[in-house]
Structures are given as C-alpha cells and as structure tokens.
Symmetry: C2
Subunit: 592 residues, 2 copies
C-alpha cells in the first residue's frame, strides 16, 4: 500500500525563504512566524498521513453504495471525518465568529495539499463544504450566515455545489432547473442536477445544497440564473432539523477514480430553496469564489503528483534491477536499485522539479488571494485572476502526467491495483475536468483574462519577470542557469501574446486555436520564475550559513533541472501558437 | 456505449497510395492488389465492429474470475472467440502448412489494429498465441511444430509467454525458475511467473506456455536462461490430450485496465517442459520475435487512440454547448456542436494527425519486416530493428496521451465509466509498460540500436529523409508545408545523435539521460517523414483525378497540421538532450 509523508519542510521553505510571509504587509500574516506555521503543518501532516491517507485505497476499492436513497461511504471514512472535525481542520481559514480559525488562505492551501495528497475522494467532502460556506459567507444574509455557517464551518453539515445538468455543463445558459417563487419568499425548485460531488452520504446530519436554477419569467440564458440554498433537512428557527426536503439522490455514478466520493444525480422535486444573493445574479455569486475554487483544483494536480512521486522514489530505491552502466553501485546485492539508471532519474527529476515549482506557484497565488481579500490589493486581485486559469489548467495537466510517470517507475507493478499507483492517476484525472475543463480555462485565459483591465495584469506579470531579471543582473550564481532561460521563456510568452494581438483581431480563431498552448507556455514561465526566485532564496540561505546546506543545494539543482529540461517547452508552444487557426479550422466537420 | 468502425479506407490509402504494396518486390506482395486487400479489410472490419467491439465494455465491467483454479472469461467472449477462429483470423500470416493463410505481416498488422481497437483485452488471447506460435515456428523441432502449430494457428489451443517473476522484470538474469533435466530428455520446471496474460481461461482446450527458466549448472545470469514448452494438458503422440501438467494459476491480478484478459500468477511445480531451441539460448529465442511483438504493442497505442478518437468525434458533433465565436453555426438549436470550438478542434486534430501518421509508420515498419523475412533484405531488417523501439515507445506514449485527449472532449461525461472513454485510457496504459517498458525501449534505441553495425542503419534512415527532400526539391506543393519542417526536424535528430557521439564516450550517462527524449524526437521525425510522403501521394492522386478529392485534400490538411503543430516538439527534445547528464544525475539518491 502506498504511504504519504507531508512535505512540511518544503512548505516551510516556500512560506519563509521564498514568500517571507511573516514580513509581508498583509493583515494576519505577521502571525505566520516559522514556529507557528511549522506547528500547524506538523499537526496537519500527522492527521493526513496517519488517519486520512490509510483510507485512500479503502475508498478506491469499496467506493460509495446507494441503498434506499442512502449513500454509504467507505469503511473508516465516518470516524476519520470526526477526527478531522475535532481537530478544527475544516474551518482553518474561516472567520472565528463562525467557529473557524481565521488563518490566511495561504495556510489553508498548504493544509489542503496535504489532505488532497492523502486522500482526494475523502477531502472533497470538506472541500465542497468549504466552497458552499464561502458562497454563503460572501452573499448570504445575516440570518443565512447565522443559520448555516457555524454548522458548515465545523462540517457538522456538509455542502454541495449544483451546476451541471445532463444537457449542460460549460454552457450553463441552457439550464432547465426551475425555481418558482412562493408567497413566503422562498422558492420551489424542480429539476435534475448531475455530477454532484458529496451530494448524498452518511457522514453529516444535514447537507446544504447550493443550486443554480432559473426563476420563470427571468432573462434568457445565463443572465436568468439564480443561486439557492436547498437544505436536505429543513432547518427550524432554533437551528433544529425538521422534515426532509424535496431533494433526493437518484443514482451515483461509476467513475474512473475518486471512488470514495459519492458523485450523485440529484433530483429536485418542489424542494424548498432560499435565494442566495440577488435574483438572476447566480453566476456572479458563483464567480466570486471561482478563483479560490480553481486554485484549489490546481492544487489537487500538484497533490496527486506529490503522493505518486513519494512512492515512486521509495520504489526506485528499493527495487533492484540491472546495473549502473558507469559501475556497480550495490555490489553485495544481485542488482543495483532502479534509481541508478539515468532514465529513471530523468523521470523522477521531471516530477520533483514540477512538484516543487508548482507548490511555490500555488502558494504565491494563494498569498495574492490574501493580499486581495485581506489587504484589498487590486493589483494582486487582478494578477491572481489572470493566473488562476494557468494554475488550474497547467498544474492539473502536468500533475496528471506526473502521476503517469510515477506509475511508470513501477513497471508492470504500476498497472496492478495492489501497488496503488493506478489510483493516483485515476484520481488525478478528474482535476483536468471539473471546475471548468482545462480547455475552458484556456479560453478564459486568452478570451477574457489577457485583455482584462486593458491588459494591465499581463503587463504587470511581464514587469515582474523583467524586474526580477534586472534586479539580479550581475548575480553570477543565477545568470546562466536561471536568468538566461527565464528571459528566453518570457520572450516566447510575449511573442505569443503579440501574435494574438496582431492576428486575433482579424479572426478570433487565430487566438483561440493557440489558447491551450498559451496556457501551458504561461505555466512554464511561471514555474521558471518560481525556480529563479527559489534558487535566489536558496543561495541567500547558503550564504547566511544555513545549517541544512544539502537541502538548499538540492533545491538549486532541482531548479537547474527545470530550467534546462522543462522550460524549453515554451519554444514548442510558441511554434504551435504561431501557426494560427489555419490547419486547426480547415476541415469540414464531416471530414473528421 | 462507444462504437467502432474499422478505418478500412485509410488503411487502403496507406497500403496502395503510400506503400504501393502490390508493386513492391517482396514475395507474396504481388497478391496484395487493392481489391483483394479491400475484401480482407472489409471482412475484418465487419467481425471486429460487429462481434468483438460490443464485448469491450462487457469485458471491462465483468473482468475475469478465478474459481477453483478455473478462470471464467467475460460473458460472450467464448462465442466471439469461436467466430474469430472460424473466420480464420487467428492465422492470417501463418504458413499454410499449419493451417494459416500465409499472408504478409503487413496485412496481419492492419487486421491486428482493428482487433485491438475493438477490444484489446479480448485480442490478447489470440495475440499471445500468435507470439508463442511464432517462437515454435522459428525454433521448434519438426515434431514440436507438427504437435503444436496446427492447434495454435487455429487457436484451438492458446499460448502464453512466461518471463517475469516477482523480483525480476527487465533484469531477467535474476530469474529463479528452474528446469531440471530428466532421463527422457524432458525437463521438470519449478518456480513462479507473474503477469502472465491469458495464463488461464476457459476458451481453449489446451494452453501452451512458453517458459523461460534456468537449467541448474548453466551459466550465471541471462546467459543461463533457456526456453521451454510447457503444455497445460500433456499431449500424447496422436495429439490427444492427457493428464494435467504441474502448472496452475494461483491468482489473477486486479489491474487498471484490460480487465477482460486474465493476468495470471502461474505456479510451476515440477511441470513437464520441453526445450525449445538451444540450451541457454532462451533469450535469443525470445528476441527473434521481439521486433514483431514490439511493433504489435506499438500498434496497440495507435489502436486505442483510433477507437477513442472515433467516439470523441461523434460526441463533438452531437453535443451542443456554447456558440461559435465567429458566428452561430446551428441557429435552430439551443447551442452549436462542440466541434465548432477551436480548442476542441486542436484536440481532435492532434489525435487525427497522430493516428494517421502512426498508422503509416507502423505499416511501413511491417512492410520492412516482410522485406526482411520474406525477401531476406538485410538493410530492411537493420532499419526496422532500429525503428522498433521508436514504434513501441513513441506510439504507445503518444497513443495513451491521445486517449486522454479524447476523454477530455467529453468533459465530465468522459470521467464516468458509462461513456466508455475511461476504458480506452486505462486499456492503453499497459502498452507503455509491457513488452519492455518504454524507458527500456529508449535504452535499447540509444544504448544498442544506434551503434548497431557501425551506425549503418541510422545513417540509412537519414539518407532516406535526405533523399526524399532532395528528390522532391522543386515540388512547390510540398516545399513550405512539408519539406522545410521535415528538414528542420531531421536536423534536430542529427544534432542529438551528434551530441551522444561527442559526449556519450566521456560518460555514457550523457547519452542515457537523453534516451527518452531521443526516442520521442525520432518518433516525430518518422511521423514527419510519413506525412511528407503521404502528402506527396495525396497530391499525386489528386493530379491523377482521383474521384474522392475531399479524402485526399483532408489527408494533406491533416499532414500540414502535424508538420506545423506537432513536429516543433523536436526542438524541445533536442534542448533536453543537449543539457546532458548534469542535472539528471547530480542528486544523491537520499535527496529525492
């Protein structure tokens, strides 16, 4: 069975050496001293590796079972969920007035990575609840907040998000679920929602569904969509639970992975719902949480890659097969461990350099979320909004590929479910799809975000890269291995943006045909920037006489690998982008 | 449920427009007139799409079940296998004297792609039998051939290949299974083999295991390995079946995919075996079939991609979601079909251009196998031997990626098993692993094949590319879109080879660290060459007034896509290769 050890040391490096969080001018960040964050991360590491991770394979094997309208979660999930609740992990970044711990989002991201690595299916129960609670926090009335938030912050009640219907996924304007106004101000919701994660289960006394639906007579399409709170059990004024509402799970889907999470078909039959936010502004209410939700999914790509990588490393060190061509390394054994072989290292270094770069990227993005929300920093808000589709799309694509590479280290044993490596791959696959399929992320990036506020945010990003290179001009330790490749990659990104400007006007398909490549090109430049900054931080730590020199040396070597071996992908993406829409759009649909 | 339609038209294009098989100077090829191959392919298309494909999902869902030592195959497999046997499909390229049809291997490859697309797990029962029969054909005594081949060619008996043991996969020198000589010339085999595809099942009256084992007292390591025939039931002189031999299935593995094929742990307990070929030359006997076996697995990558692509296209045309940004395409519907969106097309064109290029590559490789075996052409033998790891490694990696892309077209529905898209991905994953994991293919390519016969074969490949470009100098239809990019890609490949020569001497790790990238770089150049040749063939057909102009135009457009959007990957691979072993090998194992 696979194991999991929380990468607390690496997270501490990102928080303190790279982001220097406790010195950042963001409300709440001064508390994030190294001792404090270390204590939080160690505790999170303990519960995730000891309680949550051992249930990962169990969840995959048993899955969820629907019987008489009740969904049974896998053995051990309920008791583990109790322990997670008791530890206060479900409301880490929620306001203290509702029972949360009021910590910055950046800490929630670090903790979230651990939970997701340990057991993605399990973690979704609290993840969805967090998302629904955030929506109520942002758009609910005081009464709604008082009624729902304390129970949701503690996960005594869990939450769901209901968007998709059988005939509409990305295109929510086609939605059919109806919400008919009632005399008492409530609504009656009828319709069918699909792919509802944690839609029904046996781990909470109530489930609070957030449901998108149309109020009859409202505007057509996406502009007529409103958001509603639909509790599974009605909630009385004193907070006690009443009758069952008109919502039921009709089926649970058989999926490629995340078997431990119940993916439900939810049937609404005149279910009582309460408007959350304004009428017909449901999409806006959803979108206020979109950046966090998408960063959260991007994090899952990294998290599955981390878990898979850890096990691939263990296997590569243990498994004896073949001999080092440059000389026997394990003379007393029948063969050398796999890790002596260059191609196994190439594989592992791809993973390691991606994972650590991705972690820095996502933590930086989370810090910007804090800057935007806690510090009301508009520039940070704009930049993280630009980078969100990159974090979501690039990190889940690459994270998935890395789980496939980790599986490959195991050879035939990786294909056998017993090794657990297939599960990482199957579980990671969903992150490329939900919360906006990655093609939609690319469309959001190129079709919307690039030009937002007159292109201000992408210019800010280029300035960031340019200034970093300029500020470190003359830093010989960074020059050849980091600054030069970063500059080249950034030039590719600018050239791609220029191509879009010059050709997208004539025909938007010229830009959209390159959107996916642009997302990846952008992602590589971001990781290149992260690695250059991390190398600088590591050099500084070494110069300051850091006790763990090997850790910092390893960081620099890993960064050099990324710059030399991963960053050259930018040229390929640029070439693809520069070929425009021509061959992409040329064929009649009939000729596919 | 997914559907499958055999791509007979495209196969005919490759056979006749591209390879011009009936004019080739290879024994047996003159029979391959277009009418004849069309009839064969149409029939193969019928049985695969109508009989074999509908069982693909069934096999995935039911899997194989081991009860009291007997493995039950999924519902319908047995009767379908009977139909395949009756149709004579199991011995298409086997000698007529043993009941085969004596057709060239190139036809077997075309047919094999269809079977593999339709149902990979099912097809492995006959595939393994074919492999085992080929070994007996190449190395068996006349008596062994007479005893086993007629029954194996008809698949009345099936076959297996037993190599792997729990502690040894790639490194077969560590093998422990023993074969003790008996007074009558037979051997008693004892040991455990794992990952034995089709090791036990209920579809054949006997199973002929080919088993690698060591004869005590022989040379150490791989040089002491011999190959044995171990029938499940003993075979009397008159061909009738006798007592059960000492071989039994101890367990079947739970796998990520190919559930319909039983992957067995086989326990040999003093099982009677007969030496096949020479003592201690077991690896050589295995290797004579290696090229075909590996090309067969490369074909599976293409085949799964084809099946997934077909369904992605259907979905992209059916599913209405969003509107074409350049103008509504389906004004009477609530939305436009997915296929109007540039990023969906980018996705589909990646698949289409890979699949058709890969098909040409693999058929060309198969034709070289025929040239080598039927025509005793040493140059063809050398070239296909060089290209075999590229066919296996590149096509299965890319084929897998394409099944992932096809799944992505379905959005959330692709993650639900009901759509069948997950199965293509899960089934395709194994092809990157078995018959030599792809890292081992890369090692074979760079560590062995490149330098074979003084590097003669790789020089022959470069000459082929150079001559094609030279011969078509002045062909304006090919120049910019095909010849220029092919030249650039080929230059990248040569530069990579030069890097290996200059730096691999100093330190072999400089070459081996780039082996995986070299395999992919080589693969892209091969597909670039195929596309340039196909574009030329299509232009010629158009110039000759071909009736189906749209087919040929589509071919050219698809080729232009590959050259513009896929081939630029060569630059990235070269950059990775040129960075050498430095960052790959720098870390101590402890620092991973």
């Amino acid at each position: 069975m696979p194991s999991y050890t929380a990468p607390t040391k690496d997270m501490q490096f990102v928080l303190h050496d790279l982001l220097k969080v406790s010195q950042a001018d963001i409300p709440g960040y001064s508390e994030l001293e190294a001792d404090f964050t270390s204590a939080v991360l160690e505790e999170a590491g303990k519960i995730t590796s000891e309680v949550v991770a051992p249930l990962n394979v169990v969840g995959d094997k048993e899955g969820c079972v629907l019987e008489n309208g009740v969904v049974r979660t896998p053995t051990g999930f309920k008791s583990a969920f109790d322990q997670v609740r008791e530890g206060g992990w479900t409301g880490l970044d929620m306001p203290e007035e509702f029972g949360g711990q009021g910590m910055p989002y950046v800490m929630s991201t670090a903790m979230g990575e651990m939970f997701s690595s340990a057991n993605q299916a399990f973690t979704m129960y609290q993840g969805l609840t967090h998302g629904a609670a955030s929506a109520i926090l942002a758009h609910g009335t005081d009464q709604q907040k008082a009624t729902y938030l304390p129970k949701m912050v503690s996960c005594e009640w869990t939450g769901t998000m209901n968007l998709t219907e059988p005939h509409c996924g990305t295109d929510l304007g086609l939605m059919r679920t109806k919400a008919v106004p009632q005399a008492d101000g409530s609504f009656k919701l009828s319709g069918q929602k699909i792919f509802i994660s944690a839609g029904e289960h046996d781990m909470a006394s109530n489930i609070v569904h957030l449901v998108l639906a149309k109020i009859p007579g409202g505007p057509d399409g996406i502009k007529g969509v409103s958001l509603f709170i639909v509790p599974k059990f009605m909630v009385a004024e004193d907070g006690s639970l009443g009758a069952r509402n008109g919502v039921a799970c009709g089926n649970i889907e058989e999926k490629m992975g995340i078997h431990g999470n119940s993916t439900c078909v939810m049937n609404y039959d005149e279910a009582t719902g309460y408007l959350l936010g304004d009428e017909h502004k449901g999409m806006r209410a959803m979108f206020t949480m979109m950046n966090e939700a998408r960063i959260g999914v991007g994090m899952q790509g990294l998290a599955q890659a981390e878990a898979a990588y850890q096990n691939a490393v263990i296997y590569a060190k243990d498994r004896l097969q073949g001999r080092d061509v440059t000389g026997v390394k394990n003379p007393d054994g029948p063969a050398d461990p796999l890790i002596v072989h260059p191609d196994i290292r190439r594989n592992l270094m791809d993973q390691k350099s991606f994972i650590e770069g991705a972690r820095a990227f996502i933590m930086w993005g989370s810090m910007m979320i804090d800057q935007a929300h806690r510090g009301e920093d508009k520039a940070a808000d704009g930049l993280v909004s630009l980078l969100t589709p990159v974090i979501k799309g690039f990190l889940t694509d690459q994270g998935y590929d890395m789980t496939v590479q980790a599986q490959q280290v195991y050879g035939g044993h990786g294909y056998i479910e017993e090794s657990g490596m297939s599960q990482f791959t199957r579980d990671a696959r969903i992150a490329m799809i939900y919360e906006g399929a990655n093609g939609v992320q690319a469309l959001d990036l190129v079709g919307r975000k690039l030009a937002q506020d007159g292109g201000k945010h992408v210019m800010a990003f280029f300035d960031l890269v340019k200034n970093f290179i300029k500020d470190n001009d003359g830093n010989e330790a960074l020059k050849d291995d980091f600054l030069t490749p970063l500059k080249a990659a950034s030039k590719d990104l600018q050239a791609a943006g220029m191509y879009f400007m010059q050709n997208g006007m004539k025909n938007p398909n010229n830009a959209l045909s390159g959107s996916y490549d642009f997302m990846h090109l952008f992602g590589h430049v971001c990781l290149g920037l992260m690695w250059a900054q991390m190398a600088k931080a590591a050099n500084e730590a070494l110069a300051a006489g850091a006790s763990d020199a090997e850790f910092y040396q390893t960081k620099i070597t890993t960064g050099r690998y990324y710059m030399a071996r991963r960053l050259p992908a930018t040229g390929m993406h640029l070439a693809r982008i520069n070929s425009g829409a021509d061959t992409v759009m040329a064929l009649d649909a009939a000729n596919f």
